[in-house]
Structures are given as structure tokens and as C-alpha cells.
């Protein structure tokens, strides 16, 4: 058996209001590719960020080559030979490839603080050659395609002579050929005895590349198995547990299927190309696709947050012009961003203010005073209606849990009388208990006769919630499925169906 490089035991980590990790463990051997899987929010990234020194664990022990170690900073991790490639690209776009790769470790000249740019570029060229990457070291990163930027990140991680390489969803933005290229490099590293941790949602891919798989769920360690002995079905069932597949009873179709929103040939840049679909009253329309398929961009375009290149939007059969979010709201369209904290809520303000925020005009008296009796009544009725768990209306939204915050956003749009609600990743960053409440809420809203678009990257969620499913890939609608036709496989087929070049 190969040497154990890293052993993490009894790792726990709390974030305000959430237990991100609960008594987790993880083991990495040298010369293995170890897949780490789990649903969004299972704690994979958090666990690996602890190993990489980005976070520190509240409890637990990390042993590196048998020795207990402290990893208080990214720098400390690098010194041990642990490199991480983060989910979000972490490059400096204004600097060149070489400058990015050696940032913080630039070859110095004779004066100690001067830079040896020639040496920098030479070393980079050498590094890129050993990885068989044809990138120009002097090229500014801003001018590279996303896949090339990813390669820069990988080259950077490897330039530390890493013995442990952690890759957090490295393939999310890559094409098939680029993924092959990446896997070639990863296998090459395995030959050299590097331990590679590969976090990904694409299970077929893990089957192809990994030696062992560790499954996590809800911040807990579930199991580690040899990839060869585990079927994809078994991995999935470990990932989701049993509870999630106990689907809630299917919601009956609403008796009055009036088309409330119709979109024809919507186009905007490369991310939205000739998108057409219909949305009916009382319906939950799922928008499936891989990250970056253009779903959020469609939503933003309909909502007037981004300008359209072309296309028509009909609300209840009437052609409307939506040039701004204000127009969208006046037509009864509400958008619940995936990034609640940035776009959906005034975090520092209280529940009451947030609930009435999108419909302020209704609460303003003749002289421009805000009628606080009316706002309180409106907020109270929403808190009751949606069962928002808040100690008081005066509670600052920042101090509420993710699921409760999501409900406050919903309350805001209901107060504004929106009939059409677009939910962008409504359960992202929400723990499992609160998830089912959000699902119930979506069902209730649909039953009330509102029309709902639900963008989600989690297939089980899409399959469980949607009456119909629109699948997108690279800005195009590649398929439409009814709930009884839809399967994970069919959706994935459409989601990866590229347009002929």
C-alpha cells in the first residue's frame, strides 16, 4: 500500500449559524487521485480549504506524512507542498502568465528587492514545457480564454513542487478536449507520486480518473471506497442519502394553464442565443444546465438587469418592453438572485424594511411619509404567511440563517405583487433542513397560481420540483422535457449538447 500523505481526523468547523463540518476525516496517499464528492454544501470545499490553510479547523488533527501539523495560512500550506486550485479563478488579470505563476516568489535580482524578469519568464517557459502547455509567459492573463486561465492556475499550483494538489471543480468551465488535457496532466502527476484531490460533480468523470472516492454529505464524512468497486448509482445514493429521494407528492397541474410569460428569440451576446420558452400560471419551470450555460443571463435579461440584443417578451399575451428592473417589477416579475447577499437583500436593515423594499410606493403617504403602520402590517402578514423564523420584525437580516433570508426575499417579492418569480439557485448555501422548507414554499407559491422559473444546477432538485424542464447549453435552449419524461441522463445529454461548430 502506498504511503499515506495526508490524514485529517475529527475535523469540525463552524461558521456563524452553520456547522460546515462535523467530525470529518479524509486520507490521501501519495500517487493516488482521490475524488471528493457530495452535493453542493456538503462541505467538500471547506474541508479542502482547511487543508490548504485558507480556513483553520475548530477541532481535529491534520497529519502530514505522519507528523501532526498546523496549517494556519496558505503560505504554510505551500511550504508543506500543499497546493490548491480554487473553484473561482484566483488570478490577477492585469499581470502576465509568468507574473501570476510566480507571484509572491519572484526571482530577485542582485539588490534583493529588484525583479529578474528574464529569469521569471525563463522559469515559466520551462514549467509550461514540462506540462506541455503552449502558453506565452508574457501574455496578460486578461487576454486568455477561461480554459487557458485554468491552465495557468494549474501550472501555478504545480510550480510549488506540490506533493499534494487539490483541485476544486477544475473542469466546470472546460470543454471535453481541455478536460482530456487536464486529465493527462493529472495522470502525469500521479506517476510522480503526487497526491491529487479532485472535487467534481461530474461522476462519470470521476469514474474515469480517480482511484478512490470519498463521499460527504451535510458536513459529514460518509465513506471512502475504491472507485473500481463502486458503481455510480452507489456513489449517488451515498451522496444524497435516502431522505432526499423520498420526493414530496407531485403537485397536480394547475387547472388554468394560461401562459403568463412568453419569451421569443431572446439574444444577448454569447451567453443568450435565440432563447424561446413559455411559462404558465401555477407552473414551476425548471432551468437546467451546467454552470455557465447562460441561465442566469436569461433571467437577468428578462428582468431588465441587462440590455437585450434582440427578442420579445410577452406578459399575459401582451408584448412588453422591459428596459430596467423597475419595468419588470411593474409587470409583476420578480428575480431572486443566486447571490442573495449581494443583490437580494439589504443585509444591514431589518426584516420589515426588506419585506416592503420593492413596493415602497404603496406605503408612502401624501407628504412622502412612510406609513409604518402599513409596513408593519404587511411585514407581519408575510412573516406569518411564509413562516419566517425571526425573533422580531426589527431583526437585522444579516443575523438570520440562509433559508430564512431566502424567505425574506420571497416575502419582498410577494409584497410587490409579483406573479412571475424567477428563482436563481434558490437553495444554494442553505442546509438540508431549510431546503425542504424552500421546496414546500415553491410548491405553495405555484398552487397559489404564481408562475415560477427555478434555475438550479442540482439535478435532483430540478427533477423533484419542476413541471417542465428547459435545458440550456452555451446560451442555447437545447431541450425541453416534461416531468414524466425527464431523467438525469436526458438532462445531462441536453446540457452537454454543443452546437455544431
Amino acid at each position: 500500500m502506498a504511503d499515506v500523505l495526508v490524514a485529517m481526523e475529527h475535523i469540525s468547523k463552524d461558521f456563524p449559524g452553520v456547522r460546515a463540518l462535523d467530525d470529518c476525516r479524509f486520507e490521501l496517499r501519495s500517487g493516488e487521485i482521490h475524488a471528493l464528492v457530495g452535493e453542493n454544501g456538503a462541505g467538500k470545499s471547506t474541508l479542502m480549504k482547511i487543508l490548504a490553510g485558507v480556513y483553520t479547523a475548530d477541532m481535529g488533527e491534520i497529519r502530514f506524512k505522519g507528523q501532526p501539523v498546523d496549517i494556519p495560512s496558505p503560505h504554510a500550506a505551500q511550504d508543506l507542498g500543499i497546493s490548491i486550485i480554487h473553484q473561482e479563478l484566483n488570478l490577477m488579470p492585469h499581470l502576465t502568465v509568468a507574473q501570476n505563476i510566480f507571484i509572491g516568489r519572484e526571482p530577485r535580482g542582485r539588490l534583493r528587492y529588484d525583479l529578474d524578469e528574464g529569469e521569471l519568464n525563463a522559469r515559466t517557459r520551462q514549467l509550461l514545457e514540462t506540462l506541455h502547455l503552449s502558453l506565452n509567459p508574457r501574455m496578460k492573463v486578461a487576454n486568455l480564454a477561461v480554459a487557458q486561465q485554468q491552465m495557468v492556475e494549474i501550472a501555478k499550483a504545480l510550480s510549488f513542487d506540490a506533493e499534494v494538489l487539490i483541485m476544486d471543480e477544475p473542469t466546470a468551465a472546460l470543454t471535453e478536449t481541455e478536460i482530456d488535457e487536464l486529465f493527462r496532466i493529472i495522470r502525469q502527476l500521479r506517476e510522480r507520486g503526487v497526491g491529487v484531490v479532485h472535487i467534481s460533480h461530474r461522476l462519470e468523470e470521476l469514474k474515469q480518473i480517480s482511484d478512490r472516492v470519498t463521499v460527504m454529505r451535510d458536513g459529514r464524512y460518509i465513506d471512502t471506497v475504491a472507485t473500481a468497486e463502486a458503481s455510480i448509482d452507489r456513489i449517488i445514493s451515498m451522496m444524497v442519502g435516502r431522505t432526499i429521494f423520498e420526493a414530496t407528492p407531485e403537485i397536480p397541474e394547475h387547472p388554468d394553464p394560461e401562459v403568463v410569460l412568453e419569451v421569443r428569440d431572446l439574444s444577448r451576446g454569447r451567453m443568450v442565443r435565440n432563447v424561446s420558452f413559455q411559462l404558465r400560471r401555477g407552473e414551476i419551470l425548471g432551468f437546467a444546465g451546467l454552470v455557465g450555460a447562460g441561465r442566469t443571463e436569461v433571467a437577468r435579461a428578462i428582468f431588465g438587469a441587462d440590455r437585450l440584443d434582440s427578442g420579445e417578451v410577452f406578459v399575459r399575451g401582451k408584448l412588453v418592453h422591459i428596459g430596467s428592473p423597475t419595468d419588470a417589477v411593474s409587470h409583476g416579475i420578480g428575480y431572486l438572485s443566486e447571490d442573495r447577499k449581494r443583490y437580494g437583500l439589504a443585509l444591514g436593515m431589518d426584516v420589515e424594511t426588506n419585506v416592503v423594499l420593492a413596493a415602497f410606493r404603496r406605503f408612502v403617504g401624501v407628504l412622502g411619509w412612510i406609513n409604518s403602520r402599513l409596513t408593519r402590517a404587511a411585514a407581519e402578514s408575510q412573516v406569518k404567511h411564509l413562516a419566517i423564523k425571526t425573533p422580531s420584525l426589527g431583526q437585522k437580516v444579516r443575523n438570520l440563517s440562509g433559508g430564512t433570508q431566502q424567505k425574506v426575499v420571497v416575502a419582498k417579492w410577494l409584497t410587490a405583487n409579483t406573479e412571475i418569480l424567477i428563482f436563481d439557485e434558490p437553495t444554494r448555501g442553505i442546509d438540508v433542513g431549510a431546503k425542504s422548507e424552500i421546496y414546500r414554499l415553491l410548491n405553495d407559491l405555484a398552487k397559489e397560481g404564481r408562475a415560477i422559473i427555478m434555475i438550479s444546477s442540482e439535478l435532483p432538485e430540478i427533477l423533484r420540483m419542476s413541471h417542465r424542464i428547459v435545458v440550456m447549453c452555451e446560451g442555447r435552449v437545447t431541450g425541453e422535457l416534461t416531468s414524466d419524461q425527464a431523467t438525469q441522463e436526458k438532462i445531462m445529454t441536453f446540457a452537454t449538447q454543443r452546437a455544431p461548430a
Binding site: I103, G104, Y113, D114, A145
Partner: protein
């Protein structure tokens, strides 16, 4: 299989956008010079040329430090009054304390560096937004300058060499008739130094890195807080040098002068292609930007445009420059 083949960036995008801005700024400078030359025979005179150089010297030096600060993604509103404080300190050291001129110069530059260090600590360590921290420093420095000077100008009457050092002309000694004052040489020397610092040293590299993506720099193991503080120290040191220069030029430390210089410095940097969003900029661009401002002011004066209207024009240019910066960035994304 090569990765690069699939998506070759547009050839045009290989050119740095701040380089484009530099060329544009230089073109604008030429146009301004041609315009005023045609508009008034008094413009294209050697003496007027020297006047423009003189007027650029102080603001130019201030703008050098500001360029570092803005590239790092920050802003420094305090350099105008820090300059004044430095001038006053230099005055006190040389006149009331009767210390050698060199000590006065070092003290003046040093107090600028200290003010910059205070800014840096407030911003990097205590996470006070740069706008607020340096706005506070603006008033602190302004107040201190008034207190220390006792509200009255300090004249360097006992040390004529101080003024002569700045306004005399080494070049004139070698090339008779070309009496370009030494203070202008100081500007170009300082610009050269700043340019080397920005492009050839670790400090410069991290200035760009922090402005481009602070979090990425931090995760790469760069001690972001320390380098960020260093950037404000650089800003302060150049403000201190500016203070010494203006004192030498006016042969006095004027405690009520200085407010507003920071905006000229910021404008010079932005006109020269330094992005207010950080990550982009160059010393050459900033120097060109500083010359645009002083040439414009000079030309308007020669055309007898009233002082008040000159202010309106320079104000308009600030807005225009920032708007150009926004357009430039929008095109990039």
C-alpha cells in the same frame, strides 16, 4: 493537443489598454500645444515653456506617488495638505531650528513618509476605507501645518541656497541660454526613480497585483497588508518631496496652500491611463497627464481666461478623464 489553438485572443487585445491611453494622452498634449501656439504668439516662447515645466514640477511629483496608490486600488486625498505640512516642517527645521538645509529636506520628505505610514496602517491594518482614512489625514495634516507655523508663512531668508538650489539651473551652466531650473530635473529624476520602483521591483509588482485582485494576491502568500501600507508610504514620501520643492520654489512655506493639489495629482494619473479600479497605470502616462493639466492652465491664462474659469475647465477635465476610464474598463469586460 494544444490548448491555445482554440481561442486565440484578438490581436488588438495584446496591446495594454493603459498603453493606448498613454498614446491618446500624448496626442492630446500635442493638440493642446498646437492649439495654444496658434491662438497666441506668447505661448510658444522659451520663457513660457520654462513656466510650464515649473508649474508641472510640484504637481508632477505628487502625482507620482498617487499613481502607486491608485494602481493598488486605493486613493490618497491627503497628499495636498501633507505636502504643506512637509513644507512647514522643512521651514521650521531650517529657520527656527537653524539646522542645515539637508536636514530640512530630509525632515520634510520624512514627515511625508510618516503621514503615508499612518495612512497605510489605518487602511491596511484597521481596514478603514482609503477614502475616509486619507480624508481624515487631509485635515490632520492641514491642522498641524497651521498649528506648527502659527498661521503665518515661514520665509527662508537666512538660507538663500535653498531657493537657489531649486530655481538655479545646472543645465544653463552647461548650455548657456537653456535655463531650465533644477526643480524640473528633480521632477524627471523622481519620475525615473518611480518608474523603476513600479516596473522593476517587488514593491511595484505587488502594487499591480493588489490592485488587480487583492484576494488572489493574498491567497498566493503575498503579505498584502504590509505591501499596501508600503504603497501609501511611497505616496507620502513623494508628497513630502513635493512639499520641499514648493517651499524651495516659493522660498517660503505657505501653511494655507496645498488643498486641492491632491485632485490635480489624481487627475494627472487618471488622464495618463491609471485606472481608478486598480491594476493598471504607468509613470510615463502620469507625467504626460501632469503636463496636460499645467499646459492647459498656462494656455488659458495666456488667453486671459479668468482664474475662475480655469478652475471650471480643470474640473471638467477631471470628470472627462474619469469617464474615459469607465468607458475603457467597460470595453474590457
Amino acid at each position: 493537443m494544444s490548448l491555445i489553438r482554440r481561442s486565440i485572443p484578438r490581436p488588438g487585445s495584446l496591446v495594454r489598454s493603459d498603453a493606448i491611453q498613454r498614446v491618446l494622452a500624448f496626442g492630446a498634449l500635442i493638440v493642446i500645444v498646437i492649439f495654444f501656439s496658434l491662438a497666441s504668439p506668447n505661448f510658444l516662447q522659451f520663457d513660457n515653456f520654462v513656466g510650464i515645466l515649473l508649474a508641472t514640477a510640484v504637481v508632477g511629483v505628487l502625482a507620482l506617488g498617487t499613481t502607486f496608490v491608485i494602481i493598488s486600488g486605493g486613493i490618497d486625498l491627503s497628499i495636498g495638505t501633507v505636502m504643506t505640512l512637509s513644507a512647514v516642517i522643512t521651514g521650521v527645521l531650517i529657520t527656527s531650528m537653524q539646522l542645515p538645509v539637508v536636514v530640512g529636506i530630509v525632515g520634510g520628505v520624512g514627515i511625508g513618509g510618516l503621514a503615508g505610514l499612518a495612512n497605510g496602517i489605518l487602511i491596511a491594518r484597521f481596514k478603514i476605507p482609503p477614502f475616509i482614512a486619507t480624508l481624515g489625514m487631509l485635515n490632520v495634516a492641514k491642522g498641524l501645518a497651521l498649528v506648527i507655523s502659527g498661521l503665518t508663512p515661514i520665509y527662508f531668508s537666512g538660507t538663500p541656497e535653498f531657493n537657489e538650489g531649486a530655481m538655479g539651473s545646472l543645465i544653463g551652466g552647461i548650455l548657456p541660454g537653456v535655463d531650465i531650473p533644477n526643480i524640473v530635473l528633480v521632477l524627471f529624476g523622481a519620475a525615473l526613480l518611480a518608474s523603476l520602483l513600479l516596473t522593476k521591483t517587488v514593491l511595484g509588482r505587488y502594487t499591480f497585483a493588489i490592485g488587480s485582485n487583492e484576494e488572489a494576491a493574498r491567497l498566493s502568500g503575498v503579505n498584502v497588508d504590509a505591501w499596501k501600507a508600503g504603497v501609501y508610504v511611497i505616496g507620502g514620501l513623494f508628497a513630502g518631496l513635493g512639499g520641499v520643492l514648493i517651499a524651495a520654489r516659493l522660498n517660503s512655506a505657505q501653511p494655507s496652500l496645498g488643498f486641492g493639489y491632491e485632485l490635480d495629482a489624481i487627475t494627472a494619473a487618471v488622464i495618463g491611463g491609471t485606472s481608478l479600479a486598480g491594476g493598471e497605470g504607468s509613470i510615463l502616462g502620469t507625467v504626460i497627464g501632469a503636463f496636460i493639466i499645467s499646459t492647459l492652465t498656462n494656455g488659458l491664462r495666456i488667453l486671459s481666461v479668468p482664474q475662475e474659469w480655469q478652475t471650471v475647465v480643470t474640473g471638467g477635465i477631471v470628470i472627462l478623464a474619469v469617464y474615459l476610464d469607465i468607458i475603457r474598463r467597460r470595453r474590457q469586460t
